[in-house]
Symmetry: C2
Subunit: 187 residues, 2 copies
């Protein structure tokens, strides 16, 4: 309100120099008698531009602040935390979460490394552990089952999980001794 008044004063103060009376009500046209029309026109345009500018800036601030308040709700912090410290917390949180998801996905999604190991070999039965990760596809399981069946292998344990379009599979497979000459081509 009173801000607006001083704005007007300051605007005219800037656009035409100063030394006007303290009740300045745009009676400044008397200073430039020869170019009244152009001057008032350009002044109107300038004032309109100023209003647009003012409004745009207000919108911009509102946009930024809305995002900031969303972040405030997202983080564990009350509504009266600093803008700066809020952003600091956000930085810290993003780093934390990044690190966490990195660790977790490293645990559950080793990229393409397949693993094969003989867990046990007794009583003529060989027990394998097989771990592989690959892109998921609908009939992956069926193919797997049929392959194992054709090799006369028995699945003791299967752990299969899917994250982000990729699957991680851990199998414990037992093969009787009369068949494990065929295993080599599997791997």
């Amino acid at each position: 309100m009173q801000q607006e008044i001083s704005d007007q004063i300051f605007s005219s103060f800037l656009t035409r120099g100063f030394c006007s009376s303290s009740t300045t009500t745009t009676t400044t046209s008397s200073f430039y008698p020869s170019i009244i029309e152009e001057d008032t026109i350009s002044q109107d345009k300038a004032l309109a531009a100023l209003r647009n500018h003012k409004e745009a800036e207000r919108k911009r601030r509102a946009r930024i602040n809305s995002h900031l308040s969303m972040l405030r709700n997202l983080l564990p912090c009350n509504s009266k935390t600093d803008k700066a410290t809020l952003l600091a917390k956000v930085v810290q949180r993003v780093k934390e979460l990044k690190q966490q998801t990195l660790e977790l996905s490293n645990e559950s999604l080793p990229s393409e490394t397949d693993e094969f190991s003989v867990l046990n070999f007794d009583n003529g039965r060989t027990i394998f552990k097989v771990l592989f990760c690959c892109e998921d596809r609908p009939d992956l399981m069926q193919d797997l089952v049929e392959t194992l069946k054709s090799l006369k292998m028995k699945t003791l344990y299967a752990d299969m999980s899917t994250i982000g379009g990729r699957t991680r599979n851990v199998l414990i497979v037992a093969a009787d001794k009369e068949h494990h000459g065929d295993d080599s081509h599997l791997l």
Copy 2:
């Protein structure tokens, strides 16, 4: 530079009204002859306060912007993205990461649910799958191994992971037939 000049002009313009010459160099004392000393003193204090204020505000902006640039480096975005859209991306990213870690830890950290199932029973050997989650402690593994040994069980497969102070353990255990009368007290 030229900003500073107009600042000075505007400052004096605000603090003492206007109608001074365009070369205003604080020669305004002639307007208030009776209260020269108090006025100049208070003016000096006011100007000093204004300078402090100016500098503090500059520092504050710098702090906020440094955090913002850190976020810019943290996110996949170039250095010329909007402040507002940057913050929007940050909001989105925090939500994503939050959701991801939630999913991942739900997958790998079922709270306290133990699981026990018989996978296979043939040739007089019983094969169990045991899953349990609990708080991690240093000698958990040792206790586990000794318990299994006392029960004459053989560990075929073990998958143990620790996240956030908790462990998730999956065991495949084989018991020979002459011992699995003892199993019940394990669970």
